[in-house]
């Protein structure tokens, strides 16, 4: 058989890549994110120093040839800590958003599809969750559960579930009335298949864009919670924790807070750019011309 008859999956992802390739800005986002991921994965090879190694003689040194981004109040290398910190930030952001996305959109699709009293009760709870500022809610849960990595992820995932539920519910209500869902029912598709195969992919772009935006927010929240001491505990390097430590010396040692802040800024920016590009690429109508 010729390659035109291969199944749809590989061709579809090729088409998505083809669209991404045409969007120049998406490459900037992708390259930045790839660099950060690369940095996180190969941290032991890239870091010039041990991120935990204290050195009182070199404490609070400005950037120099030996310590490219300077040292902190314990004499630890800021660059090395930044590189290792990427691991925590990315892991927390990715895992927390993956959980929030999965649980939140499941709740939203079910509420939208089932409707009625179930919808009202579930979305009422979601609205209560949305009424709290996410940071406050995260703070509450993290304080309740205790400060460690798993609890930080749980806290962030929990606070970010509600927006996903909202974003998944609205298109579900519209989609379940669409002709192709009706036609699917007439062809004997069960409710789970309709929700999973016919409704979900039609709003995947909404959820994915939300995912990238909220991953940026999760990374910010990780930093915020670590900043106030409710995140990963010292001496494990995290960007938020580094900013907190640097904040105390901001007037005398600017490099301590600035570089982790820049790292967060770049990561969040890359995720937002990529999220927008993904949205454009996933919608088959927007990539009709180059799909062939």
């Amino acid at each position: 058989m010729a390659d035109t008859t291969t199944l749809s999956a590989p061709r579809r992802s090729n088409a998505i890549l083809a669209t991404l390739r045409q969007n120049k800005l998406s490459w900037v986002g992708l390259a930045l994110l790839a660099a950060i991921v690369f940095m996180a994965v190969f941290a032991p090879l890239l870091a010039p120093h041990d991120p935990l190694q204290q050195n009182i003689i070199h404490r609070l040194e400005p950037p120099s040839a030996e310590f490219l981004l300077g040292t902190d109040s314990f004499g630890r290398d800021v660059l090395s800590r930044l590189i290792y910190g990427a691991r925590i930030s990315l892991m927390v952001g990715f895992v927390a958003v993956a959980i929030a996305m999965f649980v939140g959109s499941t709740i939203g699709i079910l509420a939208g599809y089932i409707g009625g009293l179930f919808d009202q009760i579930v979305m009422g709870i979601v609205d209560v969750m949305l009424a709290f500022p996410t940071l406050l809610l995260g703070l509450m849960i993290a304080a309740m559960l205790g400060a460690n990595l798993e609890n930080l992820i749980i806290a962030i995932a929990f606070t970010e579930m509600a927006p996903f539920a909202r974003v998944a519910r609205a298109p579900t209500i519209g989609l379940k009335e669409r002709d192709f869902v009706e036609a699917g029912r007439a062809l004997g598709f069960g409710p789970l298949r309709i929700m999973g195969v016919h409704i979900l992919p039609n709003m995947a772009s909404d959820v994915v864009v939300m995912g990238s935006l909220w991953m940026a927010s999760a990374i910010r929240m990780e930093a915020s919670l670590s900043f106030i001491g409710l995140g990963v505990q010292p001496p494990t390097p995290t960007w938020g924790g580094m900013i907190r430590e640097g904040f105390e010396n901001i007037l005398t040692a600017w490099w301590l807070a600035i570089f982790p802040s820049l790292a967060i800024l770049v990561t969040v920016l890359a995720l937002n750019i990529l999220g927008d590009a993904l949205r454009d690429a996933i919608d088959p109508k927007l990539r009709s011309e180059n799909a062939a």
């Binding site: 010729a2 007439a186 598709f189 069960g190 992919p201 088959p284 009709s288």
Partner: protein
């Protein structure tokens, strides 16, 4: 003749409006024989689509119900099957095609995958063999270059082509009965002709029966063996297609035919039907057509039953005047 494929008796479907139940389909009794096409004809709001949705139990779960009657199909009463049993049956033994081919396909799946999906869930086939079958079906519904089009998305197809894909999906499991709800209404006339010819051909080769819903009498003439004319949720006349056109007996059928443009008649002879179909919340007590009827008599205040026309058992009409019948309560 063998048992009918579909035997609907006394079906009544109701919708809830402002807390009360109102019938959209009333006392609907109709049998579809094997390999036969029965057309359901009527204006918008006459209950044609509600009837088809009732047969497949696709009325909304909330605010709609089948209040009375039975829908016998393959020895089972569909009105009493569980939803799980209906899910197995839909697309397998009874399939349905819809009016809007432009929006009736999932925009995120290739047409091949969508046809294959039907085969996979009902037949438990592997993806590979289902895709091979999908290709065969696309060729059968005459999609040009079917092998290349298999992996195209619906937006790359025209309306007529999409309706062909819908037909392929509906036929994927060789159903005994096809419910076609105005399948050509959204298509232009030449494409409509092609799709109808295709349906007729497939009906023969698959040996299936078709319940064909339309408001287009030209389409009825081309497709139907027998015709049921619906008005305000009821069948008002049921006969073979020739009798309906040659000897329309219900005054509504008559005016419907007079309102149809014909090549062989002067278009100045077209007569519009005055008034509108009564809404389901304001049905007249007697004959539903009486307020618009040119033959109205005092007797029409009583609700007429569907009765055979004098000396013709297979031509039934719901009219006191024409049937010369005793009016039912």
């Amino acid at each position: 003749m063998t048992d009918p494929v579909l035997d609907v008796r006394g079906l009544q479907s109701e919708f809830r409006i402002a807390g009360r139940w109102y019938p959209a389909v009333r006392d609907f009794t109709l049998a579809v024989e094997a390999n036969e096409t029965v057309a359901l004809v009527g204006e918008s709001g006459s209950g044609k689509s509600a009837t088809a949705l009732s047969i497949l139990r696709l009325l909304p779960a909330v605010g709609a119900r089948i209040a009375k009657g039975s829908v016998m199909f393959a020895g089972q009463d569909l009105a009493r099957l569980s939803e799980a049993e209906m899910i197995r049956l839909r697309g397998e033994a009874i399939a349905m095609i819809f009016q809007e081919p432009m929006t009736s396909l999932n925009p995120t799946m290739t047409v091949g995958a969508q046809i294959a999906e039907v085969i996979e869930i009902h037949r438990g086939s592997t993806r590979r063999s289902a895709m091979a079958e999908a290709l065969r079906l696309l060729e059968e519904v005459r999609i040009p270059a079917a092998r290349q089009r298999l992996n195209d998305y619906p937006h790359q197809f025209s309306g007529g082509m999409r309706q062909r894909v819908m037909i392929a999906m509906a036929l994927a499991c060789r159903p005994k009965l096809l419910l076609a709800d105005e399948p050509t209404t959204a298509l232009d006339v030449t494409i409509q002709g092609q799709v109808l010819a295709l349906l007729n051909e497939l009906k023969q080769s698959y040996g299936m029966s078709i319940l064909f819903i339309t408001h287009n009498l030209g389409v009825v003439a081309q497709m139907a063996d027998r015709v049921a004319v619906m008005y305000a949720g009821e069948i008002v006349e049921f006969a073979s297609v020739n009798k309906i056109f040659e000897q329309p007996s219900h005054p509504y059928t008559e005016v419907l035919l007079k309102a149809m443009p014909r090549v062989d008649r002067d278009s100045a002879g077209l007569e519009p039907i005055t008034g509108q179909v009564p809404g389901i919340t304001a049905l007249p007590v007697g004959c539903a057509f009486a307020p618009r009827c040119p033959l109205r008599q005092p007797d029409c205040d009583r609700h007429p039953a569907l009765a055979p026309l004098a000396a013709e058992a297979d031509h039934v009409v719901r009219c006191v005047v024409r049937a010369g019948q005793e009016a039912a309560v």
